[in-house]
Symmetry: C2
Subunit: 218 residues, 2 copies
């Protein structure tokens, strides 16, 4: 009943966008396995066959969802700057981590989706999972580069493993804070971010002083 549905009312890819949004929301709530074309169709109001027309397959759709949401996430979260002159490394790190902690609570969607894809263990035929793992490894590389610039050249030469380790320690802790925030709203993420910043400064100093005169043991 009511007006006959007019086909092709929308310009170009407004529908595409609606589908991506609905799929992103559902994948975020339920993971890859819980995301079905049916649910996406119901939420977006666009027929299942149109979804297939746009994306070809569930795998293709989820891959597009990941790319699309990554672009938005990256714009907000990946500006790694050098500390301003006059700012200590410790202060700067506290700022950076505080910002990261804020983004964990304010827009957790992209990272949550990625972590769910990481934990779901299908043999690897999920394109979106592979994409996320690549993004993750890329972010890690950028973090390591940032750390390398904060280290004295002598230290970089003596401990080439240190920058990647600090980067990994960083990412691991942030992943952990992320999961914690999902499990329980009551965490004081700001304080925990400060603890991480202070720990990193300590670890860096520890490594630097180990080299002064003494040969490392092990």
């Amino acid at each position: 009943m009511g007006a006959k549905t007019s086909r092709r009312a929308k310009p170009a890819d407004e529908s595409r966008q609606r589908i991506l949004e609905a799929a992103f929301e559902i994948a975020n709530e339920l993971g890859y396995e819980g995301t079905t074309i049916s649910k996406i169709s119901a939420r977006s109001g666009i027929s299942a066959s149109s979804i297939y027309w746009h994306f070809g397959s569930k795998d293709g759709l989820l891959a597009a969802v990941l790319t699309d949401s990554f672009e938005r996430w990256e714009a907000v979260n990946m500006d790694l700057e050098a500390p301003l002159p006059g700012t200590s490394l410790g202060e700067h790190l506290r700022d950076i981590h505080a910002q990261a902690a804020r983004s964990i609570t304010e827009n957790p969607e992209f990272w949550r989706l990625g972590l769910m894809l990481t934990l779901e263990q299908r043999i690897s035929d999920v394109t979106a999972r592979t994409q996320f793992l690549e993004i993750r490894s890329n972010v890690l590389g950028r973090l390591a580069g940032w750390w390398r610039k904060r280290m004295a050249p002598e230290l970089v030469a003596r401990r080439p493993d240190l920058a990647p380790l600090l980067a990994r320690f960083n990412m691991a802790t942030m992943d952990g804070l992320f999961v914690s925030a999902q499990a329980d709203e009551g965490w004081d993420l700001q304080t925990l971010a400060t603890m991480l910043a202070d720990s990193q400064v300590f670890l860096l100093n520890q490594a630097a002083s180990e080299g002064e005169g003494t040969r490392r043991n092990g």
Copy 2:
């Protein structure tokens, strides 16, 4: 074809166990949403109706899976001891975290399942999810208690928030190492565990020395 299936060949709850195992494996690979009675039936070789007879519902089955796997996990992972006399806190922590890192790679199943349940955001009608969150909060409480015993009474009185914070920092980092290990096999978890131990000792000392004469600012 072949011999007619004999019903009720098995004693008491051997079947129950087979179902739990199959369900645990599948839930581990695919999360709650990806776990279906059909798949469990196929993997365990036990008919769907028998599964319903044993567990009543999918929710009931997954709740049983979580309880059952938690018991096995707890037996291996939750013996928090005091440091032996003559061992420094730092050395002891390194041991503890090294052990935790080993268990992350050696039997990640229970914790992975829990994290997947945590990240999947269904409104909360999943009993297993609630159970895991309670377990998590319980583990956190035990960790905080452990830390409190390592702190001078004066410090406990002055910074009652410190033990829970160290516990949370600990758990967050371990969650993060866990996720990292799932994403990429190449991590040197032992070194990262050492970094965590050293950081905690540093944070504890930092808090202790802050109280010597100076009033904390903020």
